[in-house]
C-alpha cells in the first residue's frame, strides 16, 4: 500500500471516525452535565430565543464594528472562504463523491477557487497576526489556539500545493495533514465549529424567555 493510499484510505477512515465520535462524545458530554430548569414565569419562548440567538450572532452589531473590524473581516473571510473551498472545490467534491457520499454537485471554477483561497488565507493570517500582536489576544491565547491556527494553515497550504495533482507526495502530504486535523479537532478549540450552537443557543434561550432579542 502506497503512502497516499494509506492516508486517503485506512488513516483517513480512522481520522474521520475519531472526528465524528470524538465530537459527538464532547457535545453529549456538555449537554449531559445538565442544568436546573428555570421556573421563573417566562415572557416569551426560550426555544425561539435559542434559534434567534444562533442566527443573531452571525451578524456583528454595528456599534462594535469599528473596534472589532479586523476580527470581523478576518473571521468572515477565513470561515466563509474555508467553507466554500471545502465544499465547492472540484477535488474535494470528487473526493467526497468517491470516498464518502456517492454523489456530487457543481464545483466552482478554478479562478473562483484561487480567489477564495486568497481570501481564506488572508483571513486566517489576519486572525493569527492579531493573536500575536494585540495585548488582549496575547494574554488570553494559549497553545491550543496557536496549534489550531497553524494546523489549519498547513492543511490549506498543502492543499494549494496539491492542486495541480502533479505529485502524489504533495497530495499525500495534504491528506496526512487533513487526517491530523481531523484527529485534533474534537480535543481542541476547533470544536467551536459545533459548540457555538450550544453557546449562542443557551444565551439566546436565557435572554429569549425574558423577551429580549439578544
Amino acid at each position: 500500500m502506497s503512502f497516499l493510499n494509506l492516508v486517503e484510505g485506512p488513516l483517513f477512515s480512522f481520522a474521520a471516525a475519531v472526528f465524528l465520535f470524538g465530537a459527538l462524545w464532547r457535545l453529549i458530554g456538555i449537554i449531559r452535565i445538565g442544568r436546573k430548569k428555570d421556573i421563573s414565569p417566562p415572557k416569551a419562548s426560550a426555544a425561539a430565543g435559542f434559534i434567534r440567538g444562533n442566527l443573531r450572532h452571525f451578524i456583528p452589531r454595528g456599534i462594535f464594528a469599528k473596534r472589532t473590524m479586523v476580527h470581523i473581516v478576518g473571521g468572515y473571510g477565513f470561515h466563509l472562504g474555508l467553507f466554500v473551498l471545502v465544499f465547492f472545490g472540484a477535488y474535494h467534491i470528487d473526493f467526497l463523491n468517491e470516498r464518502i457520499l456517492g454523489f456530487s454537485w457543481t464545483a466552482m471554477p478554478r479562478w473562483a477557487f484561487l480567489i477564495t483561497s486568497a481570501i481564506a488565507f488572508a483571513g486566517l493570517i489576519m486572525l493569527w497576526v492579531r493573536r500575536i500582536s494585540d495585548p488582549v489576544m496575547r494574554l488570553i491565547s494559549n497553545k491550543d489556539d496557536h496549534i489550531g491556527s497553524w494546523l489549519t494553515f498547513l492543511v490549506m497550504l498543502s492543499g494549494c500545493f496539491a492542486m495541480e495533482q502533479a505529485h502524489d507526495s504533495l497530495r499525500a502530504t495534504h491528506m496526512l495533514l487533513v487526517d491530523i486535523w481531523l484527529v485534533y479537532f474534537p480535543f481542541s478549540r476547533l470544536m467551536h465549529g459545533f459548540t457555538f450552537i450550544l453557546s449562542r443557543g443557551n444565551s439566546g434561550a436565557t435572554y429569549g424567555r425574558k423577551g429580549i432579542d439578544l
Binding site: W25, R26, I28, G29, I30, I31, R32, I33, G34, R35, K36, D38, I39, S40, P41, K43, G53, N54, R56, H57, P60, R61, I63, F64, R67, T68, H71, G75, R130, R131, D134, P135, V136, M137, R138, L139, I140, S141, N142, D145, P186, F187, R189, H192, T195, F196, L198, S199, R200, G201, N202, S203, G204, T206, Y207, K210, G211, I212, D213, L214
Partner: protein, 426 residues
C-alpha cells in the same frame, strides 16, 4: 490545595452547568468581549478582558469536569490546578471590575453570557470567603436591618411621613389584601425619597390599592451581588413571606436594576417554587397604567433629556421599550444618546461595585465612557436614570467629571408630568 481553594473549586464545578460548560467550550479567545467592556475600554488593561475574568473557573472546569478531562489528565495535558494565589489575584477582576452588565455578550460571536457566568463564579468566591470588605459590610447590615445601608423601618416611616405631608396622600403600611406591595432600594429611601411621593400620587390617580411591608420594604439583594445563593434566598424569602402574608396580588420591583433580576428572574429559582403573586417592575406598572388611560400625561417637561439604560432592567431585564414610551410622553425634547438601548454602557457601579470602596477609582474611570456619551448629546439638560444605584453613581461621576446635569428618576418624572384631573391630556 488549600481549604479555601478546595471550597472555591468545588463551587466552581458545582455551578458549571451545561450552559456555563457550553460557554467555556465555545470561546475562541477572539478578544472581542474586551471591546465591549467599559472597564477595559476605560483602562486599556488587557486583564480587564471579560473572558479573562472567568479564567480560574474555566480552568477548574477543564481540569475536572469537561469531556475528555480524565484522558487529558492521564496524558498530562490537563490545565494545572487553580491555586489560592490565583484566586486572590482574580478577586478584584471578579468583584471590582465586572458589573455583570452583559454588554460583552452582544459583542461575542459565540454569544457567551459572561455576566451570568461571573455570577456563578462569585458563588465559589463567596463560599471561600474571598469577598471585598465593602460587600461583607453590606451583608452584615442586611442581617441586622434587612437593608445593605442599614435603613430601618423607623427611618422608612420617617420618610413616608415626609412624603405624606408633601403630597397630602396617605401611604399605608402593612395593608392586608392590597393589590400591590411596593419594595424600594435603600438608596431610594434615603437618597431619593420623593419616589415614595411619586408612587403615592400616581397610584392614587390610578385608583390602585397598594401598600409597603414593614418587614420587607427592601428590594436590594446583596446575596445576588456577592454571589451567595443561600444569602440571596434568605433575603428573598423575607419579601415572599411578607407578600404572601399580606395576600397581595403583585409585588412591585423598584427602579433598581439588580433587584428586579433578583426577584423576577432568579427569585423562583432561588426559592425552588413559583410565587403566589406576580412580580412586576415599576416601569411595567406605569406603562400599563398609562396605556389604560389611568395616569394620563399632562404638560410635558420642556427640558432636553436623555435616558440612561440600567443594564439589569433593559439589557438583562427586557424592559427596553416601556421607559422610552413613558419618557416620550413626559418630555418635549427626549433624545437618545449614542449607543442607547440594548448596547448602552453600564454606569460602572452595578453588580456590587458601588458597595465596594476598593473599586472607587475604577468605577470613576469606567464612568468616563458614560460621561462621553452624555457629552455627545448637544445642549443636554437632564438625564433620566431609572435605577437608584445608577443614580448615585451618576451623582459621583458627574461630580468627578465636573458636569452640570440634572438627574431624574422615571417615576418622579411621570408623576410630575401627570395630567391634572381637569387638564387636557398631553
Amino acid at each position: 490545595m488549600s481549604t479555601t481553594t478546595e471550597i472555591a473549586v468545588e463551587k466552581f464545578l458545582q455551578h458549571t452547568d451545561s450552559e456555563a460548560a457550553s460557554f467555556f467550550e465555545a470561546c475562541v479567545h477572539c478578544g472581542q468581549c474586551a471591546e465591549a467592556c467599559h472597564f477595559h475600554l476605560a483602562t486599556g488593561d488587557p486583564r480587564q478582558t471579560p473572558i479573562n475574568k472567568l479564567r480560574p473557573m474555566e480552568r477548574a472546569y477543564k481540569r475536572d469536569k469537561a469531556p475528555f478531562s480524565t484522558l487529558k489528565k492521564m496524558l498530562g495535558l490537563a490545565p494545572k490546578p487553580v491555586t489560592e494565589a490565583e484566586l486572590k489575584e482574580w478577586e478584584e477582576l471578579v468583584y471590582d471590575s465586572c458589573n455583570m452588565c452583559g454588554r460583552c455578550t452582544l459583542a461575542c460571536p459565540m454569544g457567551i453570557d459572561i455576566a451570568g457566568t461571573i455570577r456563578k463564579m462569585r458563588e465559589g468566591y463567596a463560599a471561600a470567603g474571598l469577598v471585598p470588605e465593602g460587600l461583607k459590610s453590606a451583608a452584615e447590615y442586611v442581617k441586622k436591618t434587612t437593608s445593605p445601608m442599614g435603613v430601618t423601618i423607623k427611618a422608612l416611616k420617617a420618610q413616608i411621613a415626609h412624603q405624606e405631608k408633601a403630597t397630602g396622600i396617605k401611604i399605608e403600611v402593612d395593608k392586608k389584601g392590597a393589590d400591590y406591595m411596593c419594595t424600594f432600594s435603600s438608596m431610594e429611601i434615603m437618597g431619593y425619597p420623593e419616589v415614595l411621593g411619586a408612587y403615592a400620587k400616581l397610584f392614587k390617580r390610578a385608583g390602585l390599592s397598594w401598600t409597603i411591608s414593614s418587614v420587607a420594604y427592601e428590594a436590594t439583594n446583596v446575596g445576588v451581588q456577592i454571589g451567595s445563593a443561600p444569602m440571596a434566598k434568605e433575603i428573598l424569602e423575607r419579601v415572599v413571606d411578607a407578600a404572601e402574608a399580606l395576600e397581595v396580588k403583585h409585588v412591585i420591583s423598584p427602579e433598581c436594576g439588580h433587584a428586579y433580576g433578583a426577584i423576577r428572574w432568579a427569585g423562583p429559582n432561588l426559592m425552588g417554587r413559583q410565587f403566589n403573586f406576580e412580580v412586576v417592575h415599576i416601569i411595567e406598572v406605569l406603562d400599563k397604567l398609562r396605556r389604560e388611560g389611568k395616569i394620563p400625561a399632562g404638560k410635558k417637561d420642556s427640558r432636553r433629556m436623555t435616558l440612561h439604560d440600567p443594564c439589569q432592567i433593559i439589557r438583562r431585564g427586557g424592559l427596553l421599550k416601556e421607559p422610552r414610551k413613558l419618557l416620550d410622553e413626559s418630555c418635549d425634547d427626549f433624545v437618545e444618546m449614542k449607543g442607547a438601548g440594548l448596547t448602552n454602557f453600564c454606569c460602572g457601579g452595578g453588580g456590587g461595585v458601588s458597595a465596594n470602596p476598593r473599586a472607587e477609582e475604577l468605577k470613576t474611570k469606567a464612568f468616563s465612557l458614560k460621561a462621553e456619551q452624555l457629552n455627545g448629546v448637544e445642549n443636554l439638560e437632564a438625564v433620566v436614570v431609572p435605577c437608584g444605584n445608577c443614580r448615585s453613581v451618576f451623582e459621583d461621576g458627574l461630580d468627578a467629571y465636573e458636569m452640570d446635569l440634572e438627574i431624574i428618576g422615571l417615576s418622579e418624572l411621570v408623576a410630575e408630568t401627570l395630567a391634572e384631573p381637569d387638564e387636557k391630556q398631553g
